[in-house]
Amino acid sequence: MKREKPQSFNSVPIKERLTIPRQDMPEQDALLRSTNFLEVNLGFTPEQAVIEAQRCIECASPTCMDGCPVNIKIPDFIQLICKEDFVGAAEKIKEDNSLPAICGRVCPQETQCEQVCVVGKRFEPVAIGRLERFVADYAMEHGSDTTPVFQKPEPSGQKVAIVGSGPAGLAVASDLIKEGHEVTVFEALHEFGGVLVYGIPEFRLPKAILREEVANLETKGVKFIKNFIVGRTMTIQELMNDEGYDAVFLGLGAGLPRFMNIPGENLNGVYSANEFLTRSNLMRGYEFPEWDTPLYRAKHAIIVGGGNTAMDAVRTAKRLGADEASIVYRRSEEEMPARNEEIHHAKEEGVKFMNLVNPIEFIGDEQGSVVAAKCLRMELGEPDDSGRRRPIPMEGSEFVMDVDMVVIAVGNGSNPLISQTTPEIETNKWGNIVADDDGRTSMEGVFAGGDIVSGGATVILAMGAGRKSAAAISEYLKAKVGSVV
């Protein structure tokens, strides 16, 4: 179905729009920020946002929406920015994405909406992510007077339990509360947000933003319960049979750290990225001694991996005072899955990159603390299934380097707790929950989405899966009422 083109508020003639340079995001000075945990990117000014929005050429057939996993009405919100209706623009985004301030910060727009932006074919694409972030922040700061008041719908009388308060769970909660269902989010940790709170550092996603999004949902009626481990505190069966939940959504994420299985991984000073980042982010290790979580200040910290988690960990190590913080990655920079922006920021902050290197052993001292890493040099072979050239070890290239902290950031698996306590729910051989496109699992009334189904992916993909599941849960609950009547 063809979309109706939004009303244009762009006063710049089309030809001139292409001469406007992409607006740079103001950011903290690299030297200064490498010593603090304040946000790196400072966000557009209103003037910059309007100029950037005016770069949109209002394509007859815009492709940007197709690049967004939740199909945000990008052309519409950009025109509202041109009109300087920033709160309206944020509301337009929220029709499809309940967490724009978060997605504007952590989504890989360069491989999604901005990658397919028509302007980007010849020039730099419109900075859609930065615009999303700007209007979301603006609305948070100024929008309380102009944001439409949430009208509570008629109660449906049906209860939904959401397990996990990460992006998938929050998206489900946001959609289902609008349907009048009684929605409760159960979180195993003592703060809400899942990977957004334990995984992503303050300098990339300030926790205040997350708390505000959670508070918004609470205002709408979503109930949040923390320190509640589904599968231990209560099983899914107990939630449904004893507590009367009509449906359950599982958005547990992929929080089980993976190690490399090389000698020395159990030495002191060798962390999984999950532990290291959780200590710093969730347990506020970066605010020690005000907070009680100590974190080691390394002379040389190496972080093994090349994804966004590795970048978060290495930049955290640097900020914690490491004299030297290095990425050790087995392929070359070209194959790194981390966002270019994160790589660029890490380099600016003094992070060293040791590419085409892979550790094969960690060496400890008499106290059992890591003091060195034995590594191998790699060379690139033929591309693998991911299309990236595969690293092959170079025989005889071993070398040893001094390190006193190691963080393993090679990926995460799914937590086996639910599959162990709920055998009715089918899992695949990797332990991920098997669900159809709408999140239906093999157990009636139980839905799942996000990383627990797909394996580690992006925030927006988890939200997209959550929204699909919310629609399916809604349908399921309606049918359930119908069958009772």
């Binding site: 993976r258 490399m260 299985n261 090389i262 000698p263 990225a273 991996g305 090349g306 994804g307 966004n308 988690t309 590795a310 990655y329 087995r330 392929r331 790194m336 899955p337 094969i360 052993e361 191998l376 072979g381 033929e382 693998d384 299934d385 991911s386 595969r390 092959i392 070890p393 950031a409 090679v410 990926g411 995460n412 698996g413 086996p416 599959s419 162990q420 089918e426 899992t427 695949n428 051989k429 990797w430 332990g431 394996g455 580690g456």
Partner: protein, 154 residues
């Protein structure tokens, strides 16, 4: 005693029996792991391994490898430097794949040694070379799976 020395004192039936015994040991190992595994996903993985090794045993008994004609893929060496896990109850799927890949690597080396030992006998050389290639192919498949699932580089 090295494999070469062992082989020198064996007749062909004994060599084949040694190879079949090696495959049977692997089958026994994976059956044990399959029966001990607590989750379905690990059971599935072990069953796949049992099926693979059973095929090898059949090939050795028939002393023919009709379908293994492709050239072996490159040895990725992904698991070569990893610790060899001990077979036990509740192994993780990651440990299972490492164990299996390492076993395939060792068996490939055994067949390669046999192929080299019989370099003057075209039939025997080809047979053992193909068995070595087949084991390397399995190692490659397991290591590809390992890379995809456990080295996501997130």
């Amino acid at each position: 005693m090295s494999l070469n020395e062992q082989i020198s004192s064996m007749n062909m039936d004994e060599i084949l029996e040694m190879c079949i015994d090696q495959e049977q040991q692997a089958i026994d190992l994976y059956c044990l792991a399959r029966d001990q595994a607590k989750d379905e996903s690990s059971r599935q993985k072990f069953q796949e391994l049992v099926d693979m090794e059973t095929e090898h045993k059949v090939a050795l008994r028939k002393f023919e490898i009709e379908k293994y004609l492709e050239l072996p893929p490159a040895d990725l060496k992904v698991t070569d430097y990893l610790l060899e896990p001990t077979l036990q109850e509740n192994m993780t799927i990651q440990e299972i794949v490492i164990l299996a890949a390492k076993r395939e690597g060792k068996t490939a080396r055994m067949y390669q040694d046999l192929a080299d030992h019989f370099s003057a006998d075209k039939k025997l050389n080809t047979f053992f070379q193909m068995m070595a290639d087949e084991e390397l192919r399995h190692k490659h498949d397991l290591e590809t799976e390992y890379e995809k699932e456990f080295l996501q580089e997130g």
